[in-house]
């Protein structure tokens, strides 16, 4: 059976991958232990039965809300499936090509292969969200069998929607650079609008009229596949034939949305349509601000960096996501019905928090991803007469300047809305710049030291140590910023002075960290990344 062969082959690859480095095995063990710990805490330390009395009465509301959760999971699976095709494409192609040489029906090879891959891509849902859902359902008194059937339907749904995502990904690859960019921006605007309406609906309490509630109602109605998925639960609540029909409708729906995309993927693949089309670039030599600001080779490196960001939606989206979120939050504040309270000007800076944290961690998360996407192309730089520090600096400068502009302009904008004084704004900007300096520096250290260049998806290339450093830094920052703001009220002079000191010292720390990152990156050999 083809499924056994593929599973064995995947397992062998995985074991070899683990055996290459001790840290990978340790990482896996820690991951498994954490998952076990999570499950033990969830099901034994706070057993679902213990809260049954509390939520038993809300069973039907819980069942109703599953359609919204289903929508969320579907979104997630679609984007996972798309990333499967767009980012992991090259490694995937090679493996598929090896399998397709075998004298078997390509449909079955794709089917098995995509099941495995889509479940890996959706592992967060399966490892964390699904256990929580199961816990809630058991707590609400649903029988184990009902919950089990529902879980299976949900996993089936994840797979089916991943396939739809894969199809979208293929369509996306076929787009030219410009159309891709438009699509990426359009989908971000759409998401922003969606969140805006969602928050708007929540803030206004006027649930009956908003568009979002209409959407939610349709989702939970009898014609919605997302409700069909929950039919086993409804059946337990209310033993009606309607729900048996809906169950079969759900299965049929899933089979159809699995079969059609699968057929399309196989056809597209065999037609050779997994390759981007030939595309011509108008090349002109332009002199711009980059030439004015930077010397060679930084000039060339940054020019290339900007071109790549503009053509790689993955990088663009990771850079622009904080902007979108910031705009949504600001818009939500600006349009909320409450008048801002001027006496509370200083405290209102708390609202700045998520935005400032986002702005300050963007370089830290972006720099390693952008270095990881280089993979074997690092050889270009290691074989060239530039200093590796310059390469890292170019990776650093783009998100750094971006974060500075973004963070400072948002601070100014908010200070106008809230009507705070200039001194306060200055302090916030000083602290912001200091934090961005340090996190950007940390980003380069991570990029130099804790990246696994052989990971198929550059977004997940951080090693265990790297992820820990990111995590700890975010944790500390989310304390530092509010702490200084609160202390500002009680010890203004101390804070002003220390903000200035932090501001100055952070530049030195940043340069030191970039040097550290470069020192580590220098040690790489081609066998580490090719």
């Amino acid at each position: 059976m083809i499924i056994r062969i593929i599973l064995k082959y995947e397992l062998k690859c995985f074991i070899n991958y683990l055996n290459q480095k001790k840290s990978r095995i340790i990482g896996l063990i820690i991951g498994v232990l954490l998952e076990l710990l999570f499950l033990v805490i969830l099901f034994f330390v706070i057993p679902p039965v213990s809260v049954r009395n509390l939520i038993y009465g809300y069973r039907s509301i819980i069942a109703d809300s599953l359609s919204t959760i289903g929508l969320f999971i579907a979104f997630f699976s679609v984007s996972g499936g798309a990333s499967l095709v767009t980012t992991v494409r090259r490694g995937l192609r090679r493996q598929l090509e090896a399998l397709l040489l075998a004298p078997t029906n390509p449909m079955s090879i794709f089917f098995v292969y995509l099941i495995i891959q889509s479940l890996i891509v959706s592992s967060i849902i399966i490892e964390i969200l699904l256990p929580i859902l199961i816990w809630i359902l058991i707590a609400a008194g649903f029988s184990i069998i009902t919950v089990g059937i529902f879980s299976l339907l949900l996993i089936f749904m994840i797979f089916a929607f991943s396939l739809i995502g894969a199809i979208l990904g293929i369509a996306y690859i076929r787009f030219g650079v410009k159309r891709r960019m438009k699509l990426a921006i359009a989908s971000m605007v759409f998401l922003a609008l969606f969140y805006f309406m969602y928050f708007g609906a929540l803030a206004n309490n006027d649930m009956s009229s908003s568009t979002i509630t209409i959407v939610l109602r349709v989702l939970a109605s009898d014609v919605s596949p997302f409700k069909w998925i929950a039919s086993p639960l409804y059946y337990e609540l209310n033993r009606s034939w309607l729900y048996v029909i809906e169950f079969f409708l759900a299965c049929g729906f899933l089979v159809i949305i699995t079969y059609i995309p699968l057929k399309m993927i196989v056809n597209k693949y065999l037609e050779g349509k997994l390759r981007p089309p030939v595309e011509r670039i108008e090349f002109t030599i332009r002199r711009g601000i980059i030439d004015f600001l930077f010397e060679q080779p930084l000039r060339g490196l940054i020019r290339k960096e900007i071109k790549i960001i503009k053509r790689d939606p993955n990088l663009l989206v990771s850079l622009l996501t904080p902007i979108i979120i910031g705009i949504v939050i600001i818009a939500a504040i600006a349009f909320s019905s409450q008048e801002p309270s001027y006496q509370m000007g200083r405290m209102m800076y708390m609202i700045l928090l998520p935005i400032l944290i986002l702005a300050s961690i963007t370089p830290m998360t972006y720099i390693p991803v952008s270095v990881a996407t280089e993979k074997e192309r690092l050889a270009i730089y290691f074989a060239s007469p530039i200093m590796i520090r310059d390469f890292l600096l170019a990776k650093f400068i783009v998100p750094y300047i971006f974060s500075l502009i973004y963070g400072i302009s948002i601070s100014c904008f908010l200070s106008i809305i809230i009507g705070s004084d200039f001194l306060m704004l200055l302090i916030v900007v000083f602290i912001l710049v200091g934090v961005i300096n340090i996190t950007s520096g940390i980003g380069t250290v991570i990029a130099g030291k804790w990246i696994n260049f052989k990971a198929p998806n550059p977004r997940k290339a951080l090693t265990l140590e790297g992820s820990l450093v990111v995590f700890v830094t975010i944790f500390i920052i989310s304390f530092i910023i509010p702490l200084t703001m609160i202390l500002m009220i009680f010890l203004p002079t101390v804070i002003i002075l220390s903000a200035i000191i932090v501001f100055v010292i952070s530049f030195l720390i940043m340069l030191k960290l970039v040097d550290m990152g470069a020192e580590n990156l220098k040690k790489l050999e081609i066998t580490d990344y090719f």
Binding site: R280, L301, A383
Partner: protein, 273 residues
């Protein structure tokens, strides 16, 4: 060290020319596997040296060490008087390197990639447009230069990598698998080009599996086997002195082993059932 001093003085006497590439007792060990052992060799300016050897004999390893992509476990490589391990930025200025599988940016057009390479070497592309055009004509790439590299065929990828190696006027040219994916015309053009560069004192180190190419192109051939040099010499002179009939292929097979004819016959038996 002694050898180095002797070779150095030797080269010095020879028209006072500088040394282009010196492999000085280079050893490379991966984990526990020895890929290259006590490899010592030099290439003079205006000389073409061909590196031969069976699969896995260490050719790519040697070339990667020479351009600084791998760090030697022992020994050093000197490029135009600069150590690749101690003074890499200076040494790499002189090297044009064409890897066997060139790493390229899928989302850049060929010309944009060349611009990047030029800027890494400190040039301005505006001063190099003529040369790019000429090279593109030589390699039949004029039409494709503005296409995104993602649409290139394997041969076009090699050609753009060749252009990138040549465009910054290297004094040392290192090409891995010189014949890989190139069409006959491109290969012939490349051979003529290399001979011309040699006349202009460029030191050229190539690796190949095609013995005729090595014989025709190189002044000296070095045969590697299991990480060690087992034969080195000038194929043409060798033929004159030893025997007209002996081809490089014969030497190669004598040293590294020829085809396993008996095994092949044995294997083919299953078809005669």
């Amino acid at each position: 060290m002694g050898i180095l001093i002797i070779t150095e003085s030797f080269i010095y006497e020879k028209k006072g020319a500088e040394l282009a590439i010196i492999f000085n007792d280079v050893t490379k060990i991966y984990d526990s596997k020895i890929a290259l052992q006590n490899f010592s060799m030099r290439v003079n300016p205006g000389e073409i040296v061909g590196l031969l050897g069976p699969n896995g004999s260490g050719k790519t390893t040697a070339l990667r060490i020479a351009v600084g992509l791998l760090k030697p476990s022992k020994g050093d490589v000197i490029i135009m008087g600069h150590s690749i391990t101690h003074n890499p930025e200076e040494a790499k200025k002189y090297i044009g390197y064409v890897p066997d599988e060139p790493p390229l940016y899928e989302n850049l057009a060929g010309i944009e990639y060349l611009q990047l390479i030029l800027e890494l070497w400190g040039y301005d592309i505006a001063d190099k447009m003529n040369e790019i055009d000429e090279l593109a004509r030589i390699l039949d790439m004029q039409l494709e230069l503005n296409d995104l590299i993602s649409s290139y065929s394997a041969g076009m990828r090699r050609k753009i990598a060749l252009m990138a190696a040549l465009i910054h006027d290297p004094k040392v040219l290192i090409i891995d698998e010189i014949t890989a994916n190139l069409d006959p015309k491109a290969l012939a053009s490349l051979a003529i080009l290399l001979r011309g560069l040699k006349e202009h004192n460029v030191a050229i180190l190539i690796s190949t599996h095609i013995l005729e190419i090595a014989e025709e192109l190189s002044d000296r051939v070095v045969i590697l086997h299991a990480g060690e040099i087992i034969w080195t010499g000038n194929p043409k002179e060798f033929r004159k002195e030893v025997s007209e009939s002996k081809r490089l292929e014969d030497i190669f097979f004598e040293l590294t082993g020829g085809p396993e004819v008996e095994q092949i016959i044995n294997y083919l038996r299953r078809y005669t059932k």
